[in-house]
């Protein structure tokens, strides 16, 4: 295989893919919007093509421009990463039509799984259990609202509204009381239209107390489809995962086999080729239900890599090049945990934060992996997703992995921008996390009135002492050197004016 890979993405996943390509001896091309110039990922590529445009729609979502970038730079394959165009069947088709290799599954597989309502129907047909609920295909807002309201009554409360084109918590609302239904449905539709240009919503029964368990699958073009075991990603805030682990702490070999087989059946039902993830809800009853399939590499793939020893991105490259995948029989060893570091104010409803990374010093030592697209001196802007880094640890046992994660989070120093590091650190001490009995409502259960950091007076006083002494000693001269020249300026809100966020 001798291909040149254009990575149609940015940030940490672009870094991850570019490094994998470099290791595999493949040439690389990055594409880059003007406001990403000088980002870490652009430094890891052999070539960088600047994308013309002021919005995400006219840069990282501009299919024509990206395919033209591949053509002009001599790239012969496109890796979409996650987000952006990764689950756009029309793009996968356009890539193939342009004579390029698409590093992902077929457009047909993406379509069947990308529309969540179609996916539910496909899975029902393949004998994979889906969550009780109803799809509403109605487009017109008034008609859709009425149809949804009726469906909601049949499904019963509490329920979840989900955008058929959704993902990542966007266009999703939990509704516990029929009185809140209309406002929730309108909000979900509005967010879905804004994010995906598709306001169709479906309803699922809200199975509280459930675990979110997902199965990583790999399939090559030689007819082999395997699963790499599960990840548990129950711990979520705003319907976004923040704490993921493998293996699942309450998983049994029998259940893994059953869920793994269902995931492989799901992949085979759409003739899947490449890396993908089948997400399930594991109910308190012990039943599991298909949630959706992500037809791309996932944010939390590292935990699977660490416990199975499979380099999933490298396998993607192999599979796209027509080779057989190289991994052998499933062999799960030890325990891996990933936490997602966000620039956000966890004590204030997890609101995104911005600012300079005056100090960005990740923890070090054995068993720690950091996947990031930033480094000290960069600025966190409101232009893109506020995830700063994924901190992943591996240890021989879950107990030791948690210990290592605590140590790693304590050593992680980020100054200049509010992050959720302390929230993640306290999460490691939550009884449900310690015992592994986490569910999708663990965070809400633990902090029903929102999280705020536990601290003590001595530490607060010592931090004031430090700030005062640093001021008196004139230490800002020193630390400022690490920041970029824009440090300290608030980002202009006008940067966001013309953007629609995908």
């Amino acid at each position: 295989m001798c291909i040149n890979v254009l990575v149609a993405n940015r940030g940490e996943i672009a870094c991850r893919v570019l490094r994998a390509c470099k290791e595999a001896g493949l040439g690389t091309v990055a594409v880059c919007a003007a406001n990403d110039e000088g980002s870490l990922f652009t430094e890891l590529a052999d070539r960088v093509v600047m994308l013309q445009g002021d919005t995400i729609a006219t840069t990282y979502l501009d299919q024509t421009q990206i395919i033209e970038a591949a053509r002009s730079s001599g790239a012969t394959a496109i890796h979409p990463g996650f987000g952006f165009l990764s689950e756009r069947a029309d793009f996968a088709r356009a890539v193939a039509d342009a004579g390029l290799i698409w590093i992902g599954p077929s457009p047909e597989a993406i379509e069947k799984m990308g529309d969540k309502m179609t996916a539910r129907q496909t899975m029902r047909a393949a004998g994979v259990p889906v969550i009780p609920g109803e799809e509403v295909e109605e487009i017109d807002e008034t008609a859709a609202l009425e149809a949804l309201r009726l469906a909601a009554e049949r499904v019963g409360y509490p329920l979840l509204l989900k955008a058929s084109s959704g993902g990542g918590g966007k266009g999703m609302r939990a509704v516990h009381d029929p009185a809140d239904f209309e406002q929730a449905a309108l909000g979900a539709r509005r967010e879905a239209v804004a994010a995906f240009g598709d306001g169709r919503i479906y309803i699922e029964r809200l199975l509280s107390g459930s675990k979110h368990i997902e199965i990583q699958v790999l399939a090559d073009a030689h007819g082999r489809t395997v699963h790499l075991g599960e990840r548990e990603c129950s711990v979520q805030r705003r319907h976004q995962k923040v704490f993921e682990e493998a293996p699942g702490p309450t998983m049994t070999p029998a259940l893994r086999e059953a869920m793994g087989s269902a995931a492989v059946a799901a992949a085979k039902a759409v003739n899947y080729v490449g890396a993908g993830t089948v997400e399930f809800l594991l109910a308190t009853s012990g039943e599991f239900f298909f949630l959706e399939m992500n037809t791309r590499i996932q944010v939390e793939h590292p935990v699977t890599e660490l416990v199975t020893g499979v380099d999933i991105v490298r396998e993607q490259l192999r599979i796209a090049g027509g080779e057989a995948m190289s991994c052998g029989d499933l062999l799960i060893r030890g325990h891996a945990i990933e936490v997602r570091l966000y620039a956000e104010d966890a004590a204030n409803g997890f609101l995104p934060a911005v600012g300079p990374l005056l100090v960005f010093r990740p923890p070090e030592g054995p068993g720690i992996r950091l996947d990031t697209g930033v480094r000290e001196g960069d600025d966190v802007t409101p232009n893109y997703d506020p995830m700063l880094a994924k901190l992943i640890v591996w240890a021989p046992s879950r107990h030791e992995a948690l210990q290592k994660m605590r140590r790693a989070l304590d050593e992680f120093v980020v100054l200049g921008t509010t992050t959720n590091i302390r929230f993640l650190r306290e999460l490691c001490d939550v009884p449900a996390v310690v015992s592994g009995t986490t569910t999708t409502t663990t965070i809400d259960d633990e902090w029903p009135n929102g999280w705020s950091p536990a601290t003590n007076e001595d530490l607060v006083a010592a931090s004031l002492l430090t700030a005062s002494a640093a001021e008196s000693l004139g230490l800002h001269q020193r630390t400022k050197a690490g920041a970029s020249s824009e440090a300290g300026e608030a980002p202009s809100p006008f940067q966001t004016i013309t953007r629609r966020f995908p």
Partner: protein, 154 residues
């Protein structure tokens, strides 16, 4: 030496005492060695502190905790935010639910902002009377911009 800082609560006056090569404050102790800062807490434990300043704000990392202290020049107002609700992020106003003269109860949604791909609801922090609304739907807001004023009702 004296400094005044404000975090999330009321401003704090810090009176630094220098004892030999160390600074102390309320039983805590700080020494500089090389370019680093070593803090000895009242319980005897020793920690490395990281500090960095941007604008008027000192960021401090100590024993796994991060603090944000805004330094106030002498003479600046010490009055806490009196009911004004400010934009937590730069973004766009999607919807405004209230108008001037309306009474609201704590927890009631007042406004929806969109920023960084998500909708954010601005919620009343106490029962009160809306005395000003500074933005309408589709307006752009800068971070920290006052959005509405609420006069507290007891």
């Amino acid at each position: 030496m004296q400094h005044r800082f404000v975090g999330t609560g009321d401003p704090v006056e810090v009176n630094l005492v220098k004892e030999g090569g160390a600074w102390t404050y309320e039983g805590q102790r700080l020494e500089q060695y090389g370019e680093r800062l070593k803090v000895t807490l009242a319980d005897g434990s020793v920690h490395l502190a990281h500090a960095a300043k941007t604008g008027d704000v000192w960021w401090v990392h100590l024993n796994g905790h991060t603090f944000r202290w805004e330094r106030m020049e002498a003479g600046a107002s010490t009055k806490a935010n009196d009911g004004g609700l400010t934009a937590p992020m730069p973004g766009k106003v999607l919807e405004v639910f209230v108008e001037v003269g309306q009474t609201v109860i704590a927890g009631e949604a007042l406004m929806v902002l969109e920023a960084m791909k998500m909708e954010h609801r601005i919620v009343a922090t106490s029962d009160g009377l809306v005395t000003a609304v500074h933005f309408k739907a589709n307006d752009q807001v800068t971070q920290g911009a006052p959005l509405l004023s609420i006069e507290e009702i007891n």
